[in-house]
């Protein structure tokens, strides 16, 4: 029973966006991520599944260096975005996060207007030269977030006045407004009701035509519905990584099968 290690020959034909080799993460004395190899492909939804505390969220936060904000967290190993090591000393994490967007578990719109929520990122990164361009960026983002029709008449209303599902779609629109290449989603539907969840999943299906998405979920049914590739984490190890249909009908590793059939948790 070995963990999934990726030999050079097995890399998939689709463009690889993120490639991680030998990633180790320590939280103080705890060894949270142990020697993880994974390839995140472009225009694909990759799901990270696994029981609580297995390290999937930790690994996700390594991809946009959000772990930098935690003092006791140390990241080792090679993580490359389009071939460039993102932990290189010359890389500015702030700029990295404009290219690798993130959506969080609990919808967290800024307590500003809907327009300002979406416009904030483009503003601080100087993506628009004038108000007209900014308006266009905001509208495009809201359309891509599948929420334009619901809010186009009230762009100045506060973002916190929307329902849970709408707020999460607003957060997704906010994340895509900075024209990222990769979208990281940390359990984006866990705070939402089933219909809102289904709408977000449909949105994820549309988004994968333009972006590479990585979604951490504690619901393996969600991973089954929404992803093309699935990575199963267990106790900090990456146990199996493969095509979603295959993982859910005939997984290779016994541990994966135990988790999926509900024998371990």
């Amino acid at each position: 029973m070995y963990d999934a290690q990726i030999p050079q020959s097995a890399v998939d034909q689709t463009d690889i966006k993120f490639s991680a080799r030998g990633v180790q993460v320590h939280y103080g004395d705890t060894h949270a991520i142990k020697n993880v190899d994974v390839d995140i492909a472009d225009k694909t939804v990759t799901a990270f599944i696994g029981p609580s505390g297995c390290g999937k969220s930790t690994f996700l936060r390594c991809l946009n260096r959000m772990n930098d904000t935690i003092d006791v967290c140390r990241v080792a190993g090679d993580i490359r975005l389009d071939g460039v090591d993102i932990y290189d000393k010359r890389i500015d994490p702030v700029q990295l996060r404009a290219r690798v967007g993130m959506v969080f578990q609990k919808p967290n719109p800024f307590p500003k207007s809907i327009y300002d929520n979406v416009a904030y990122g483009p503003r601080i990164h100087g993506l628009a030269r004038n108000k007209a361009e900014l308006d266009e960026i905001v509208e495009n983002a809201l359309r891509r977030g599948a929420i334009w029709n619901e809010v186009k008449d009230r762009l100045n209303a506060p973002g916190t006045g929307l329902s849970g599902g709408q707020q999460q779609r607003l957060c997704i629109a906010r994340a895509v407004a900075t024209e990222p290449e990769v979208l990281l989603m940390d359990e984006p539907c866990s705070a939402l009701d089933p219909i809102a969840t289904a709408q977000i999943e449909e949105l994820i299906d549309e988004l994968r035509r333009s972006y590479s998405l990585v979604i951490v979920t504690h619901s393996m049914q969600q991973a089954a519905r929404v992803s093309q590739k699935t990575a199963f984490f267990h106790l900090g190890h990456l146990v199996e990584f493969g095509e979603t249909g295959q993982i859910f009908t005939n997984p290779v590793d016994e541990r994966t099968e135990s988790y999926i059939t509900g024998r371990i948790g």
Partner: protein, 237 residues
């Protein structure tokens, strides 16, 4: 009820499976007609073609099963969606068996081509095969259109097929009693007739699946069993 799921990929998966079932059904219909034609025209080549094409039908059944398993694993369908997938699995099994019977018919045709013809029976067989093929077509239509009434009608039509079989059975017995040299041919023809009658039963099974799919319950009236040959000793003149 809204026809489409919020997740459009689910709809696409279901449509693909439906398309595969229809494709399989078309192939099976074709196989029945060709087998019957080859029997009547004593065309050995056509028979051979039918036997080869059965492989495609078998592969389709494997594919459909795999797809259905995938949909169950990935989508966890419930209610009508679940019955749809379950009926797809059973219908594809029924279709595969019908295809096998058609292949068997073609195989025996090859043998019969070398023996003396037994005229009236082949045309009767052709009529029976025709009726079964029409039933199959209607069954597939009722599946696509979720038409319960049509399905119920098909179940009743099987009675005609059974009666045709009864008539053929008596006829063949008569032939065999009259002319012992025709026993080989008549035995083959009898097997063909039995297989055709079994085809009809499988089509009925498909129609029952359609009723289950739409209403959620298997039809409880006893399937009309018109085949009295196994119970009635008085058929022999």
């Amino acid at each position: 009820m809204q026809e489409t799921h919020i997740a459009s990929a689910f709809d696409r998966d279901l449509e693909m499976i439906q398309a595969q079932i229809m494709k399989m059904g078309g192939l099976v219909e074709e196989a029945i007609i060709d087998a019957a034609t080859s029997l009547e025209t004593r065309d050995a080549d056509l028979a051979e073609t039918v036997r080869r094409r059965d492989k495609v039908i078998d592969n389709l059944e494997l594919q459909i099963n795999e797809e259905a398993a995938r949909v169950i694993a990935l989508r966890a369908p419930t209610a009508r969606d679940l019955r749809l997938i379950l009926s797809v699995i059973k219908i594809s099994a029924n279709l595969e068996r019908i295809g096998d019977y058609a292949k068997n018919m073609a195989k025996r045709t090859g043998v019969l081509a070398g023996l003396a013809p037994v005229d009236e029976s082949t045309s009767a067989l052709r009529r029976m095969a025709r009726e079964v093929e029409r039933m199959l077509k209607d069954a597939l239509d009722s599946y696509i259109q979720h038409d319960v009434d049509l399905a119920a009608e098909i179940i009743l039509r099987d009675r005609d097929v059974d009666q045709m079989y009864n008539a053929l059975f008596r006829e063949l017995l008569t032939f065999m009693l009259e002319d012992p040299r025709s026993i080989t041919s008549c035995m083959h023809l009898h097997f063909i007739a039995k297989n055709t009658e079994r085809m009809g039963d499988h089509v009925t099974s498909i129609a029952e699946q359609v009723i289950y799919l739409v209403t959620g319950e298997m039809p409880d009236e006893a399937r009309p069993k018109g085949d009295r040959t196994s119970t009635d000793a008085g058929l022999i003149p």
